[in-house]
Each structure stands twice: as C-alpha cells, then as structure tokens.
C-alpha cells in the first residue's frame, strides 16, 4: 500500500467531491422547491463556463467583470428556462417533466458544441498557479481555491435557508405549497428564484472547473455524477447532497486506486459511482438523510 498516494487521492477526492456537493446542492434546491428532477444540471455548468470564457477571451474583460456578467446572465437564463419550459408543465406527470429537462440538456449541449466547438479550451491564466506543501502533500493553489469557493457557497446556502426571508419562503414552499401560498408566499416567484439560484451556483462550479481543467463538453458530466451523490444523501436533503458529493468524490478516487493496483478493469473512476448508485437504490432508496415517503390510501 502506498499511503502517501492514497492520501493524495483522498484529498483530490475531497476537492472534486466538494464541487460535486455544490452541484448536488443546487440540484436539490430545484427538486425541493419545485419537485422537478433537473437532468440539465450539468448543462448549467457548461453554459456558465462557456459564457465566462467568452467574456474573458473575446471581450477581454477582467476576470471579476466577466464573472459578474456570467452570474447575471445565468440568473436570467434560469428564470427564462423555468418560465418558458417548466411552468407550462406544472401538474404534468413526472415522466414529462424529466423528459423536458433531458430535452433541455441535449439541446444546450449541442448548442454549446455548435458555437464553441468540441475541443477543450483553457481559461486565460487568472491566478499564478503554484504548489504549496500541505501536511507533506503537494497541492495546487487553484485546487485550494476551488475548495474554498465550495465551502463559501455551502456557508452561503446555510445562511440563506436559515436567516433570509426568501430562503424561508422557499423552505415553506418546499414543505407545503398551499400553506405557503396562503401565508403570502408567491409560489411562481419561488420556483423562478430556485431555478435562478441553482443556475448561478452551478455556473460558479462550472467556472471553477473550467479554470482548473479547461472548458469542454465534459463539464456536463458533472450533472450526471450528481445523481449518485444526491441518491446517497437523499433527494431532498441539502446536507445529504454535500455529504453525498464528498463521498462520491472520494469513492471514485479510491476505486481508481483499487483498480490500478489490483483489479485492472479500467475506467473504474467514472463507473464506480454508478455501481454504488444501484446498490444504494436496492438497499436504502431514500438515502442517508432523505424523507421516507409513506403512502396512505
């Protein structure tokens, strides 16, 4: 056993896992508020990263300006998607809503490939990349920054849902739409807001990944990696989403280590979370923190 390598992989897993956690959180946000399973979550990352990249390279904006523009754009993007596509589908069966988000997913993925091409493009250098020594491990500062941003977003979520008026309105809507409405919460507004926040947060994650790895359509795979994370944590639990993201991040790195040393199956890095997903669904379908759905006739 190579302990230092294993430790390094675990750290990598935690860093990537924190990003999964952020994306999973924004996925859960939409699910909780509007009961929509968003299969286009990965495309939020993709669109956000490409818009930011475009601002920085074509328009030569400084990073902060381009980043702020991206956030503003994604707010509008989320609201428009909700109003134009998802609002007419309220009350339709689950299958229709799932299919609509899948349709959105392929549409935007193809659109991005059409506009920006299929090859990964690097961000202009924003931070001087150096390595620092952390507990005997070499870590790139960009990764630490991404971890910091993830933690910041999570803290922001925690504040938003416990202290802010809009966050409380959102939780009330998630709890019971009719009761929330009778207390003066505008449910359509909450729906639109949840999509906007989700799009913005995902875009931040997309930009972070883009800065580290370059922007390409591979970003949308984060949207699929979200499913093992949220199922593990429980579909309607924000805490569960973060924890599930971290676990999936570590799991795929460990699976790769196991694979490279003993199994030699290849490709375990991207497939292991799905084996885990099937197992969880068989054993504990509501996840670690999810609400058990008890049905009465």
């Amino acid at each position: 056993m190579d302990w230092s390598l294993l430790l390094q992989l675990t750290l990598n897993g935690l860093i990537v896992g924190a990003l999964y956690g952020v994306v999973a959180m924004s996925f859960v946000l939409i699910y909780k508020a509007s009961q929509v399973v968003n299969f286009a979550q990965g495309e939020f990352l993709l669109v956000g990263a490409w818009v930011c990249w475009w601002m920085l390279t074509e328009w030569q904006l400084p990073f902060w300006a381009g980043f702020l523009f991206t956030l503003a754009f994604m707010t509008l993007f989320g609201i428009i998607l909700q109003v134009v596509v998802l609002r007419p589908l309220i009350g339709e069966p689950v299958i229709s809503v799932i299919m609509a988000t899948i349709g959105l997913g392929i549409f935007f993925q193809a659109l991005m490939k059409w506009i920006f091409g299929v090859f990964a493009k690097p961000f202009p250098p924003i931070f001087t990349t150096e390595r620092i020594n952390l507990l005997g491990l070499e870590v790139q500062t960009v990764y630490l920054l991404s971890l910091g941003i993830s933690v910041l977003i999570m803290a922001g979520f925690a504040w938003f849902f416990t202290a802010s008026k809009h966050g409380l309105a959102m939780r009330a809507t998630a709890f019971d739409q009719q009761v929330a409405q009778s207390l003066g919460v505008s449910v359509p507004k909450v729906f639109a807001m949840s999509w906007a926040i989700s799009a913005v947060v995902s875009a931040v994650a997309g930009v972070v990944v883009g800065v580290v790895n370059g922007v390409s359509s591979a970003l949308s795979f984060y949207g699929i990696k979200v499913f093992p994370a949220v199922i593990l944590g429980g579909l309607d639990s924000v805490v569960g989403a973060v924890l599930g993201g971290l676990i999936v991040g570590v799991l795929e790195n460990w699976a790769q280590y196991l694979d490279a040393n003993w199994l030699n199956w290849g490709n375990m890095y991207s497939i292991a979370p799905f084996y885990a997903l099937i197992l969880i669904l068989l054993v504990k379908p509501y996840g670690l923190f999810g609400t058990k759905n008890i049905e009465r006739v």
């Binding site: 399973v37 339709e92 392929i106 290849g266 997903l277 379908p285």
Partner: protein, 355 residues
C-alpha cells in the same frame, strides 16, 4: 386522455369493445399500408429503403419502451444499452455457436429480456424518478461493459455480423432485408396489440393509472413492474438484433445515452400508451435528421451557411432538433402525433358539423 370516440359508437358487447380494428376500414387501411411497404422496393432507392428499415427496427424497440413507459408508467433511460445488448448477443450467438441468424434474433431478444430482468429488479421497488436514475446507471454500466468485454463485443474494434439467411435466401441488400424487418414489425406489433387485450395487459395499465388501487384489486405490483421491464428489454433486444444484421457491423460507441434519449423521444412524440404511436414516433425520429439535412443543404453556400458554419456542424444541429422536438411536443402536444391524427380523423368524420 378524453375519449375521442364521437357519437354513433354502437359497441354493445365486450367482444366488440376488445376488438383491435374498430371499423372494417381501419383493417383495410392497415393491409393497404403493409402492401405499400412491401411494394416499396419497386419505387424507392436504396437510401430511402434504408430509412424504412431504420423505422422498422427502431419502431420495434420503441414499442417495447412504450409498453414500459406508456402502458406501465415506469421509465427507462437505458433503452439503447439493451438495444445494443441485443445487437451484440445476436452477433455473438451466430459467431460463437453458429446458430442460424433466424434463431439468433429471437434468442437475442430472450437473452436481453433476462438482462433486463436483472436491471429491472430495482424496478419492482422503485418508481418515477428513482427508477429513471437507476436505469441511467444501467446505461453507463452496460456501456462500460461493452467497451470492456472483448470476447463479447469485439472491444473498441466492434463486431462484424453475418446477413440474414433463410433456406438459401440471403437478405444482404436493402431490397430483401426490408421484408425481414417488415415481417418482424408485423409479428411484434400484433403481439403487443394482443397483449394489451389480455389480463396481463390490463394489469399493466392498472399499475400505471393508480398503482395503489391496482394493488388493492389483487395486481401483484412487483411482478408486473418487473414483467414490463422484461417485455421492454425483449423488444429492445429484437430491435437491436435486426439492427446488427442490417448494418453487418456493430460498434461499441453507438449505444450511448443520446440514443436512449432518442428512444424516449420517439415514445413521447409518437404518443404514450399507443401501439401505432410508437411506429409514428420512430418514423418522426428517423426523418427529423433528414429534414434538418435538407434544410442545411438548401442554405449551403449562402451567407447564413458561412456565418453559422451549418455544413460542418450538422450533427450538432440534429441533436438540437431532437432536444427541441421533445420539448415542443411536451409543451404543445403532450399526447403525441397519435392524438393529432385522431383529431384529424374526428374532424373529417364530423365535418361540417364539428360542434
């Protein structure tokens, strides 16, 4: 969906209610349709015949998915993986065990049904979005298996298959293979239409409409959910086997998630819970890229073409068209083409006193 049967519906016995063809004309219409397709090689070129064959085997697989999604109310985002499994299974059976292709195709269907039952085991407990996510996992696991199982799929190189042969008659051209697919379509669609008239078929619909009531009335939920998964996989396997012996080459990369989504698109665009709708949806999905291609060709060379790089990005335009078609149908015509067709029929039946 409200019943579109207009006044003058004089069915007075269960036998009449259960009939597949409501009127003599619909029976004649179907026969004429079959004869027209059978005569198609006289009039159409190889490319158009190829499109017809595509509609045929995709229509079979789409019908399987429709039994699962439209009739039982379950969902699967891994249909293309089962389709691919059927394709590889049929090719492998022929090459490894030298079974004639005629038997390989149904055997591949049965083998795929067994695999479907394995992945459908969670389906007995799960529904709705949990099942969607489970089948998404199945898609990735099977795709990974295809890439890795050299002995079964030929790995990244793919697998070459043999053409269909029956008593020395080789169907290795579009003109002849069309009849193989046509026969398969007739058999599979007749089976499905009759299945829906049996106790099992009604049980599936009951599971979809209200599974708690169905359970109270003695329908075994776990059994029927798993059964419907098995039937869907069987259809996918047969469709995949027909695909394998048409292209004569099966590649590992073909059965990706986009293909799965296209199957779901066929079912939704054709009409959930409609047998003929599956075929219409398959036809729509096969012809949609052709329409995009025609549109791009019409603009080729012009200023729009140069500005938007239409020619070089035709595959992205096709994907966009698929996504857009799914969304537009969901918003504007959630009951699919079949519903539109019934509206048109009702309009002419009642003309000019439609109100």
């Amino acid at each position: 969906m409200p019943s579109l049967a207009p006044a003058g519906d004089y069915r007075s016995s269960y036998r009449e209610d259960m009939t597949i063809f409501l009127t003599r004309n619909s029976r004649i219409g179907l026969l004429i349709g079959i004869v027209l397709v059978a005569c198609a090689p006289l009039a159409l070129g190889r490319y158009e015949l190829g499109l017809l064959i595509n509609i045929g085997f995709l229509g079979i697989a789409a019908l399987g998915l429709n039994i699962l999604v439209g009739f039982t109310g379950q969902i699967s985002i891994g249909h293309a993986a089962f389709f691919g499994f059927g394709a590889f299974m049929s090719a492998w059976l022929h090459e490894r065990w030298h079974i004639p292709v005629v038997f390989c195709i149904p055997l591949a269907g049965i083998a795929t049904a067994l695999i479907g039952l394995v992945f459908g085991a969670p389906a007995a407990r799960l529904k709705g979005l949990y099942l969607a996510i489970a089948t998404l996992a199945a898609q990735f696991i099977l795709e990974d298996f295809f890439a890795r199982a050299q002995w079964f799929t030929g790995g990244v190189a793919g697998r070459i298959t043999e053409p269909f042969e029956l008593f020395g008659w080789r169907a290795d051209r579009e003109e002849s293979y069309l009849y193989v697919v046509l026969a398969a379509v007739i058999v599979m669609y007749a089976f499905a239409a009759n299945l829906m008239r049996t106790r099992d078929g009604r049980a599936l619909v009951a599971v979809r409409d209200h599974y708690l009531s169905a359970e109270v009335m003695g329908v075994n939920l776990a059994y029927y959910r798993t059964l419907s998964f098995g039937i869907a996989s069987f259809y996918a396997g047969v469709g995949g086997a027909l695909y394998a012996h048409y292209l004569l080459f099966v590649s590992v990369e073909a059965f990706n998630i986009l293909f799965s989504i296209q199957f779901l698109g066929m079912v939704i665009i054709g009409g959930l819970g409609s047998i003929m709708g599956s075929l219409m949806g398959a036809a729509f999905m096969v012809l949609l890229p052709e329409v995009v291609q025609v549109g791009a060709d019409a603009l080729a060379g012009g200023a729009i073409d140069r500005a938007l790089k239409l020619g070089s990005s035709i595959s992205f335009l096709r994907e966009m068209a698929v996504g857009l078609a799914i969304i537009l149908f969901l918003i504007f015509e959630p009951n699919g083409i079949v519903h539109r067709w019934q509206l048109i029929k009702a309009y002419w039946k009642l003309y000019p006193y439609s109100h």
